[in-house]
């Protein structure tokens, strides 16, 4: 039976799905982050970066939009040998799957109880983990469907890389769950109302940050996309709109990952209330703190591209299995031994 919604509930649902954290937010996030990444890396490299497109003088703020418009005008080329259905579907599935996980993340508490999120479920952590696991299969599928040698090599690398990051992520989530005794992301945030998990579990934070960078294929671990080795990895053959979708889906993933780490380790929306925002709505204040923490994480993740060379796939697997997994297990052991003192002090559980 479909529950009957009141008018204000319908308005709220539309706001959530279309504006924040639904459709508009990941797109805006992608646009701002692409622009920021280009400007920021340009400054590191003593370049100028995008300059002319956009409202403010000499900032190039609208450069990502101009690039996107250019890409959607281009011809979509499908290779003759490609397995056409999967090849054409992969970019669309990739962007949908990537933006899906945002629906399960609580961005702020509502004053009348409940959370500002699209779909509430007590198992949201597991759902997001499952969505993240789907991504490598899209990469492998797209690489295989392109039926090109470099795409295949990139897809193999993506599949190998999965082995390096998937287990450390799951293991470091274990210690979070031990600490908060729930799979509900909103409850995990509320458990951090007195002390953030980054202070209680610094090792777990580092492990999950590194593993998530590998999951996102960011610079030290952008092995499936390694330009100098496999041209562009699994999306080599994509052109025009399909390429734009592939690119945007990476930034959707970045949005989801930074949101998740914020929720798990940085206390989500918790922070002192901002008076101006609080007067409008207490939700805005929570969202402000959430976005600020996301921004800091994004800068850290982007910075890798400016200062690190790319690792080799065997070196990444080596690091994953001999460094990240033992560290995550050590974190679990520490958590198990210290949980009896910490859990009574945490709020909300």
């Amino acid at each position: 039976m479909i529950p009957i919604l009141s008018f204000s509930e319908i308005i709220e649902l539309i706001l959530k799905v279309l504006i924040f954290p639904g459709l508009a937010f990941p797109l805006l996030f992608a646009m701002i982050v692409i622009w920021f990444e280009r400007k920021f890396l340009a400054r590191i490299m003593l370049r100028i970066g995008p300059l002319h497109v956009g409202p403010l003088n000499r900032t190039g703020l609208f450069q990502p939009i101009a690039d996107f418009l250019k890409l959607i005008q281009k011809e979509i080329i499908v290779p003759d040998n490609a397995y056409k259905i999967l090849y054409n579907a992969a970019p669309i599935i990739a962007s949908i799957v990537a933006s899906m996980s945002v629906a399960f993340i609580p961005y702020a508490p509502k004053p009348d109880g409940g959370y500002w999120m699209i779909y509430y479920t007590p198992w949201s952590l597991l759902v997001i983990l499952a969505i993240f696991t789907a991504r490598p299969f899209i990469m492998v599928g797209a690489g295989w469907a392109s039926n090109s040698k470099y795409c295949t090599l990139g897809a193999i690398r993506a599949a190998l890389q999965l082995l390096a990051y998937e287990v450390p992520i799951a293991l470091s989530l274990v210690s979070i769950v031990i600490m908060s005794r729930t799979f509900d992301l909103a409850k995990i945030v509320e458990a951090q109302s007195s002390i953030w998990f980054i202070i209680l579990q610094p090792i777990g934070f580092i492990v999950i940050l590194i593993a998530m960078m590998a999951e996102l294929s960011r610079r030290p671990f952008d092995i499936p996309l390694a330009e100098q080795e496999v041209v562009f990895g699994w999306p080599t053959e994509y052109t025009g709109t399909q390429f734009a979708l592939v690119m945007v889906s990476e930034y959707f993933d970045l949005c989801a990952v930074t949101s998740l780490i914020t929720v798990l380790f940085l206390g989500g929306w918790s922070g002192p209330a901002i008076p101006i925002l609080n007067d409008v709505s207490p939700i805005l204040s929570g969202v402000f703190w959430f976005l600020l923490k996301m921004a800091i994480l994004t800068v850290i993740i982007i910075m890798g591209r400016g200062i690190y060379p790319r690792l080799r796939i065997d070196q990444l697997l080596d690091a994953g299995w001999t460094l990240l997994i033992p560290l995550a297990i050590i974190q679990i052991i520490i958590t198990l031994f210290t949980a009896q003192w910490w859990i009574p002090l945490l709020g909300g559980v």
Binding site: L160, D222, I223, E227, G306, P309, L311
Partner: protein, 360 residues
């Protein structure tokens, strides 16, 4: 898994105008076969149709965007030896200054490419920026940024301009300080070290057997430099050392280049200090007497050999070049056997090959 033939290049982000045919098994490269000739311009044959003086800009284009002075010096040495021409002192010093500036520019360029091969784009931009300072200096000296045609038969074409000495010393000081940043950013970067160390190890005995020249040979630990072994121009008057590597891996090949930049700065300082006054050019007849000669010079990429047969006319009967990149190319298939695919760009760039130089 079956073996896959992979064609890498000439349209590939790292290969330049080369094509490599790889036998790939999973992520392992079993065999690499270089396919050269994409930039073949027939310079050796063209040179027979032109006079010795007309050949100067042509020869320069063997290796135009990196090391044109070093390339030309060997040709001029050969002709001047056939003619029995003694070049004025000041011209010799100016040639050394131009050649060493060019060597610095070339080595900085090599460092850029190396960091691109490992995926560190920041170190692409930093040395390129500083290479621009050197190119500006060369522009001040010769009037051009890339292709100078600066040394000519019997001397050099232009004298130092006003204020060149001070400007050069200032920029060399800056570059010496800047090298510290490069070490911090690239050579001491742990991630870079694990990418470049123990990759493409060339043992000294193998290096000598394969006929490797230049910084690649010195990185394997062999002390060989034409500037010391058979000094040409005025290199015997300068006090400088030959940096060598220990392991002969890709990391050493880059480190040797950085150390050579320091030695070049050292030579430049001495040359700018000691340069005598006098004429910069001696008149040379257009006809070269009959005979044949082989000379070699140390260009930025290594030993550059010229074999010229003159038949007593204005044009060479035969001109044969032995460019360093072609001689170092043989190390590439040798080193790229049973290496991961990710190491192929690193080994290729660490040898600092230039397609134009290989094909001529």
């Amino acid at each position: 898994m079956s073996i896959m033939k992979l064609s890498m290049g000439p349209q590939h982000p790292i290969t330049g105008h080369f094509r490599f045919i790889l036998d790939v098994d999973g992520d392992l490269v079993l065999k690499l076969e270089p396919d050269i000739g994409y930039t073949h311009r027939g310079i050796e044959k063209l040179a027979e149709k032109r006079t010795y003086l007309q050949n100067l800009p042509l020869i320069e284009r063997v290796n135009s965007y990196c090391d044109s002075v070093g390339t030309m010096l060997g040709y001029l040495e050969a002709i001047e030896e056939l003619m029995g021409l003694e070049v004025p002192e000041r011209a010799k010093y100016l040639r050394v200054i131009a050649a060493e500036l060019n060597r610095i520019a070339s080595h900085l360029y090599a460092a850029c490419l190396f960091s691109v091969a490992t995926g560190l784009e920041t170190m692409l931009m930093w040395p390129i920026n500083d290479r621009e300072l050197i190119l500006d200096l060369l522009e001040k000296l010769t009037g051009q940024r890339i292709t100078y045609t600066y040394p000519t038969i019997g001397g050099v074409r232009f004298d130092m301009s006003e204020g060149f000495k001070e400007e050069a010393l200032k920029r060399l000081d800056y570059l010496e300080k800047r090298t510290e940043d490069y070490y911090k950013m690239l050579l001491w970067n742990h991630t870079f070290q694990i990418r470049a160390k123990n990759v493409g190890i060339l043992k000294p005995s193998d290096a000598i057997r394969l006929g490797i020249v230049g910084p690649n040979l010195r990185a394997s630990g062999v002390k060989a430099d034409v500037r010391k072994d058979e000094p040409y121009e005025v290199y015997d008057r300068f006090d400088f050392s030959i940096p060598t590597g220990k392991n002969g891996d890709s990391y050493d090949r880059l480190e040797v280049r950085f150390k050579e930049v320091e030695q070049s700065i050292n030579i430049l300082r001495q040359a700018i200090k000691d340069i005598p006054k006098g004429p910069i050019k001696k008149w040379a007849p257009p006809i070269v007497p009959k005979g044949e000669v082989y000379t070699r010079v140390e260009a930025a990429r290594g030993e550059f050999g010229y074999y010229i047969v003159a038949d007593g006319t204005m044009k060479p009967y035969r001109l044969k070049m032995s460019p360093p990149s072609f001689r170092n190319l043989i190390a590439l298939p040798y080193l790229c056997r049973n290496v991961p695919l990710a190491d192929v760009p690193v080994i290729y760039i660490s040898l600092d090959l230039i397609p134009m130089d290989v094909d001529r």
